[in-house]
Every structure is written in structure tokens, then in C-alpha cells.
């Protein structure tokens, strides 16, 4: 397949994932903002930080819901805003139009200019329904890809982009949880933690799944285990790494050649598999997460190199 098309598929999936993650983050922000003592904690800043774009809000200023909805939902100057992501996903899809099924394209094309017609106050008023709309768009797209697309290299590039984006979102959320949501005076495992962790689980659509695995209690160790190491939860870092290894291996098969990225992802899987949550806290959650983010960034660059992305 054309290198440009491979790149389009990879980024199409990343932007769709990012649109959904950002929508989920906005829900998390709303949940956390209504928790007791929220106004002390600059909850909305943590939401922005999870998207990796907090440099737009200098330290010392207060970040409001209105700022964040504007920035993450509507702002075309923010490359990670939902509106930007949906537009860029569609542009990538349009460029790789022949790789997509009609249903996939329709899922992207249906209402692609919807957010153009919203101003900030309307978007805030209708935030829950807009978030649902975004999630539905992404899920429809994913379903169309799952049920209709040929399982060729194009599909693998799509899934690689999706798994990489997901792994990074989970890593960033964990990082924020560790740094931002925990006031210095609080002890790990305190009761507010409990609500904040559940908000994070909600943001990753894993709150019910968590209970099925660990029962009724929340502990930082179990939550870390769930989000980092669980091989069944599709947003855990370990699951995403497994997916990446599987998909990159398939791509190596299509191309009759292994590349650096195959070795890198296999090393990442092995390293993560050797950890348990106790070990992670001994090394430091922050350090573990940071090295995961660095490794996944490196992986992205190696994929681009292996398949001659522009």
C-alpha cells in the first residue's frame, strides 16, 4: 500500500481515539469538579494536562470549566480539541478514501461540521449530549471498521494508531492522578482519593470492569494494576502494548521484514510483564509512567521510519 495511505490510516485512528478520550476527560472534569473541595484543587487544569496541552494555561492562573470546554471541545487552534480531531480524522480518511468502507466513511462524514455551529455557551449547556454524540461517532466508526474492513495492512495500521494513542492516554491519566490529584497533605488511600480514582476509571470507561476484577474496594495498587498491567482491560497499558506487538508483527509479516519497531514493542511488553504494582510503586509510578510515555513516543517514530511515512 502507499506509504501516505498507511500514514493516513495511522493518524485517522489516533485522531478518532483522541476525540473520544478528550470527550471522556471532559466528563471526568465535570465529575471531579462537583466533589467536595474541588475549588481548591484546580481540577480543570488536570483535565487539560491529561491532553498534554497544559502549556496553554500558565501556572498561577485559574482554569475554569468554560476555558476547558472552549479549549478542548471547540478550539480549532488546539490540535487536540475534539473539533480539530474530528476534522483531521476526516481529512486523513478522505486522503485514504479507497482504504475505507462506505460505512466507515459515512461514520466520519455524518455531521462532520456539527461543531462549527456551536458557540461556547451552547456547548456548555449541551455538554453531556455533545459528549455522547462524540462517543457515538467514534464507536460507530470503530464498529464499521471492525465489521466491514478487509483485514489487510491498512487495517493493521489503523489498529496500531489506535492502540498507541490509547496507551498514551492511559499513561497520561495515571501521571496526572499521581501528581495533581493528590494534595500534599493527603495520604495515599484517603477518602477523596477514592472519588478521584473512580473518576479516572469512569474516564477510561473501566469502572464496572474494575469491580468485576477486584471486587468492591479501591486501592491505589489495584487501580494501578488494573490500568497498567491488566491484560483483559482494553484500555490498560499492557493490553495496548499487546495489541501493538500483535499488529506490528502482522505488519512485519505483510512486508516480509521485521523492523526496529518490532524489537522495541516486544521489549516494552516484556519489561511491563515483569512488573507488579508493588514494584511499580517502589520504582515510582511517575517514573514508570514517564518511561512508558518516552518508549511509546520512540515507538511511534520507529513505525514512521519503517513504513516510510512522509
Amino acid at each position: 500500500m502507499l506509504s501516505r495511505t498507511a500514514e493516513n490510516m495511522f493518524w485517522l485512528a489516533r485522531y478518532m481515539e483522541r476525540a473520544e478520550s478528550t470527550a471522556r476527560l471532559l466528563t471526568m472534569g465535570q465529575r471531579m469538579a462537583i466533589l467536595p473541595g474541588a475549588h481548591h484543587r484546580d481540577e480543570w487544569r488536570s483535565v487539560v494536562r491529561a491532553t498534554g496541552a497544559d502549556c496553554h494555561f500558565p501556572e498561577g492562573t485559574t482554569v475554569t470549566e468554560s476555558d476547558v470546554v472552549s479549549f478542548l471541545m471547540l478550539d480549532l487552534d488546539n490540535p487536540s480539541s475534539i473539533r480539530s480531531c474530528l476534522l483531521k480524522a476526516r481529512a486523513n480518511a478522505k486522503s485514504a478514501r479507497t482504504m475505507l468502507t462506505q460505512d466507515m466513511w459515512e461514520a466520519l462524514n455524518d455531521g462532520w461540521r456539527k461543531l462549527d455551529s456551536y458557540d461556547l455557551s451552547e456547548a456548555r449547556q449541551q455538554l453531556p449530549s455533545l459528549i455522547d454524540w462524540v462517543k457515538t461517532r467514534v464507536m460507530t466508526f470503530r464498529g464499521a471498521a471492525d465489521s466491514g474492513q478487509l483485514r489487510n495492512a491498512g487495517h493493521d495500521f489503523l489498529r496500531v494508531g489506535s492502540a498507541l494513542e490509547r496507551a498514551q492516554m492511559t499513561l497520561r491519566l495515571l501521571d496526572i492522578k499521581y501528581y495533581v490529584l493528590l494534595p500534599e497533605t493527603e495520604v495515599i488511600g484517603g477518602s477523596r482519593d477514592h472519588y478521584q480514582w473512580t473518576s479516572v476509571l469512569h474516564a477510561l470507561s473501566g469502572s464496572r470492569a474494575y469491580h468485576h476484577v477486584y471486587g468492591g474496594t479501591y486501592t491505589p495498587w489495584q487501580i494501578t494494576d488494573f490500568l497498567m498491567l491488566n491484560r483483559l482491560f482494553p484500555r490498560s497499558v499492557a493490553y495496548c502494548y499487546d495489541q501493538l506487538a500483535f499488529r506490528l508483527n502482522r505488519l512485519a509479516g505483510w512486508h516480509n521484514a521485521r523492523a526496529e519497531c518490532n524489537d522495541t514493542i516486544e521489549a516494552m511488553v516484556t519489561e511491563l510483564g515483569a512488573l507488579d504494582s508493588g514494584e511499580i510503586f517502589r520504582i515510582g509510578l511517575h517514573e514508570t509512567v514517564q518511561s512508558g510515555l518516552a518508549a511509546s513516543n520512540r515507538l511511534g517514530a520507529e513505525i514512521a521510519q519503517a513504513y516510510h511515512f512522509g
Binding site: 502507499l2 495511505t5 478522505k94 486522503s95 478514501r97 479507497t98 462506505q102 495492512a153 516510510h308
Partner: protein, 469 residues
């Protein structure tokens, strides 16, 4: 009174439209209008849109779709089919001739100036024969109907005629929404067009091609107004849709950049203009284009469809001579007539045009898309006078034709079926053999009395049925 393709002057329905008439009565006008909204929603969701240059507003606008089909009987189609193929053969023969010995000029049938001093003539093509001597692989011929048995050619399109995706999608939408209309198999299918196109392109593979020819569609990119069509055709042929940056030249071949590394390309159905193909030969400042591709082409390393320089055959000044070409190259009488045309470059014809401009249609020789033309009877005195000044300033740039009594086709109005002027563009495929699917694109001027059918100026499209015996 123009010829109405559905109704006789006494108001009775022509036999070929009986089925449509029943359907309209059964569904009712209001019912049809509701279904029209549904059709538009489908078009938009599928993404069949086109961009209109410089008009602002919705960058991906829909071409208005009209539900009522335009119908040709099997007998009418036999005439059209023959006439279209004949014209496509003559145009290709002409192209080969003007880039070689120029027999038609030597024989005194056409003046040399009109060809060799024409900006559409590409000297770089001289003495080169493309595979199969085919220059224009897809010939779009714009035809109007002026009477029950009278068809006339408005213009030829030998470069990259667009719109065939509408022929296919209009039919697709109609069969999706109104399957009953097609259940008795009276309407000839058109859906093998992409397969026929692929065959035609494979037949003109270059000498360097070994094995199954690799065909690609070359698009300027996803912002081009016809991008939907480019991707649609690539999709239905099952070939790659490439942009110029996906291609490069090396070792006498053209390669596309794939995840497996470079892959040789044999035939390029290019949807970009001549001047943007190769910056080394044409526009040095062009950012588009594949440096060196023209040299590879001339050396038999790749086939370009259409051939660069094909535009000389659809030039409006050359158009006048197409009936002569048919006689000269094929030794046949033209089946489809040309429209009478006055060349302003000739002093006597110029005088006639200036005197009668208010009753003529005047066009720029190199214009297209319905821009820059004057429809005398529909223009004010001042407009006519201003246009006359433009002609006088540069007579050789203009031609004029009589205002035709174009037929009208049934079109869905808010309260009734109304008659609107239409034209017709079939797409004739030329490879080793000539292929023509029974159908084409009918464009309709949706405004009452209007003669301009171009989509860029408010024209719409409708399905075209060729009935089978």
C-alpha cells in the same frame, strides 16, 4: 416551442415515459418531494459533493439531484451509440495526425494556424506515438437534443471529462430508493463502467510493462473539486489513488512509494492538467507534478491517460472541423451533427456575429464550465454591447452559435412535473477497442427557461435511462 421529451404537444405522454408517468401518479408530487430530501441526505452522507471555486459558503456542496429520469429509447440510443463511437475514433485519429505528418493540413481540409498556433498544441508530443495510438482514452461528448430525432454535439472533452461518478451514483441512488422501477429489467445497466475503464487502461500499457499492468488514478489531492470522483473510480477499479508526491522517476520508470518500498507503475489515469504533470517540461515553478515523468512517457516507460496535448482536439476552434475529420479519416458521413458555429477570427463571420449578437450564444474559445459566455436573448442591451467590445478587441478568441431550441426533460417541481432544458454527456472509452456503456450524465438547468446546465452555475443532475428492446 421546444421539444418536450416526456409530453407530446397535445399533452399525452410519450410511450417511453409511460412507466415514469405511472410512478409519478402513484407517488404524488408531494410524496416525490419528500423522497428527494431523503436522496439528498444519502448523497451528503456518502460524501458525493463538489467544491465550487471562489463561491464561499459550504465548501463541499451537493449538486442538486432531480428524481425524474431522462429516457432514451433503444432506437434513439443506437443512433447515439454509433455517432459517439464514430466521433471518438475520429478525434483520436486527428490527434495522431497532428502530432505526426499533419495530413489533414496538407490536404487543405484544416488551416495550419488553427492547430499549430493553438496554445493547446503541445510541440513536445510531436513524432511520438502513445501505445495503441490512443490519445484520448475517455472522450466525453456533450450532446443536446433539438427535436424528436435530432441530436447535436455542443462540444468534445478529450482531456479528463468529469462527472461519470454522477452517472453511476445517480443510478445507485435511484435503484436504492425505487427498486420497483428497475425490477422488470427495462433499463440498461451502467454499473460495469469501472470494469470497462480498467480494461481500456490496461490495454494501453507501455512497452516497459511486464505482466499484469499496474494502473493508478492520479489526483491533485483531496481538496480538488472532483476528488470524490477520483477516489470513487480508483475504488471501483480496485487500484491505488495516488497524489503527485506519491510518485517519482528512477531508472526510466515511474514508481509509487509504498510501505514495501518503490513499486513500478504502468498506466496513469491522470486527473491533473498537462501543465502540472512535469515541472521539468512544463511549469518549472509548479509544486505539483512528477519531475522527469514526461521523458519516461516518451521512452515507453509509462502510459499517461489522456496523452498530454489531447486538448488540441477539444479546442472550440478545432470543433468546427470535427465533421470534416470524420469524413477525412474514416471516410464516413457524421452521424451526429455539429452546431452551426461562426468563427470571429474570420472577418465576414465576425461581422455577422456582431450584427446578430443579441440572438446568438457567444463563447470564449478556451473557456469552459459555462463561464465567460454570453446568451444574447437573455442578456441586456448593455451586456451585449460590452461583450461585443470584448470580441472586437480579440476576435480570434471567440466563437458564436445560434441559440438552440433545446429539448426539455421532465423535472420535479414543487407542485408539478415541469420541463427544463438539459444536455447529455456520454463517456466513450478508447483502448484497443472502443467501449460505451448505455448511459451518461444528464445535466439539467433547474431554473425555468435557463440554458446553462453547468454544475458550477446552478445546474443539477438526473439519472439517464437507456431502454432495452
Amino acid at each position: 416551442m421546444p421539444f418536450h421529451e416526456m409530453f407530446e404537444p397535445d399533452g399525452s405522454v410519450r410511450a417511453c415515459y409511460a412507466e415514469v408517468q405511472n410512478w409519478v401518479e402513484r407517488t404524488g408530487i408531494a410524496g416525490l418531494n419528500r423522497r428527494l430530501d431523503e436522496a439528498e441526505a444519502i448523497f451528503r452522507r456518502i460524501g458525493i459533493t463538489f467544491a465550487v471555486y471562489g463561491e464561499g459558503g459550504d465548501p463541499e456542496r451537493l449538486i442538486p439531484f432531480d428524481l425524474l429520469p431522462r429516457i432514451f429509447t433503444a432506437h434513439e440510443w443506437r443512433i447515439l451509440d454509433k455517432g459517439i463511437r464514430q466521433r471518438a475514433r475520429a478525434l483520436n485519429a486527428f490527434l495522431h495526425d497532428v502530432y505526426h505528418r499533419g495530413e489533414i493540413v496538407k490536404a487543405g481540409v484544416m488551416p495550419a494556424d488553427i492547430i499549430y498556433r493553438n496554445s493547446a498544441y503541445l510541440a513536445e508530443m510531436a513524432d511520438f506515438s502513445p501505445p495503441g495510438k490512443v490519445y484520448s482514452h475517455i472522450v466525453g461528448i456533450d450532446i443536446v437534443r433539438t427535436g424528436p430525432a435530432r441530436f447535436e454535439v455542443l462540444e468534445d472533452n478529450c482531456r479528463t471529462p468529469s462527472g461519470v461518478s454522477y452517472m453511476l451514483e445517480n443510478r445507485e441512488i435511484m435503484t436504492r430508493m425505487f427498486p420497483d422501477l428497475f425490477s422488470d429489467g427495462l433499463v440498461a445497466p451502467v454499473d460495469d463502467y469501472p470494469a470497462e475503464l480498467l480494461k481500456s487502461l490496461q490495454e494501453v500499457a507501455p512497452p516497459a510493462c511486464k505482466g499484469e499492468p499496474v494502473v493508478v488514478v492520479l489526483t491533485p489531492g483531496s481538496l480538488n473539486s472532483a476528488y470524490y470522483e477520483h477516489s470513487f473510480l480508483a475504488d471501483l477499479m480496485g487500484v491505488e489513488l495516488v497524489e503527485p508526491a506519491d510518485l517519482f522517476v528512477d531508472e526510466g520508470r515511474v514508481w509509487m512509494k509504498t510501505t514495501l518500498g518503490p513499486k513500478a507503475v504502468d498506466v496513469i489515469y491522470r486527473r491533473i492538467d498537462d501543465e502540472y504533470i512535469d515541472p521539468l517540461v512544463f511549469k518549472p515553478d509548479s509544486l505539483l507534478g512528477i519531475p522527469g515523468i514526461f521523458n519516461v512517457y516518451r521512452n515507453g516507460g509509462v502510459t499517461l491517460a489522456s496523452a498530454p496535448g489531447s486538448g488540441i482536439a477539444d479546442d472550440k476552434a478545432v470543433y468546427i472541423y470535427v465533421p470534416e475529420m470524420i469524413r477525412f479519416y474514416l471516410g464516413e458521413e457524421p452521424i451526429l451533427d455539429n452546431i452551426q458555429t461562426w468563427q470571429c477570427s474570420r472577418p465576414d463571420e465576425l461581422a455577422y456575429v456582431l450584427e446578430h449578437l443579441h440572438e446568438l450564444v457567444a463563447k470564449e474559445v478556451h473557456g469552459s464550465g459555462g463561464y465567460g459566455m454570453l446568451i444574447g436573448p437573455k442578456s441586456s442591451k448593455d451586456e451585449v454591447a460590452a461583450y461585443a467590445e470584448r470580441i472586437k478587441a480579440n476576435p480570434s478568441e471567440f466563437i458564436a452559435q445560434p441559440t438552440l431550441d433545446l429539448s426539455t426533460v421532465p423535472t420535479l417541481g414543487p407542485a408539478s412535473v415541469v420541463g427544463r432544458h438539459a444536455d447529455f454527456r456520454p463517456y466513450c472509452l478508447v483502448g484497443k477497442q472502443i467501449r460505451l456503456v448505455p448511459g451518461g450524465l444528464t445535466r439539467v438547468a433547474l431554473t425555468e427557461g435557463s440554458l446553462v446546465v453547468n454544475s458550477s452555475q446552478g445546474g443539477g443532475v438526473k439519472d439517464t435511462w437507456v431502454l432495452q428492446d
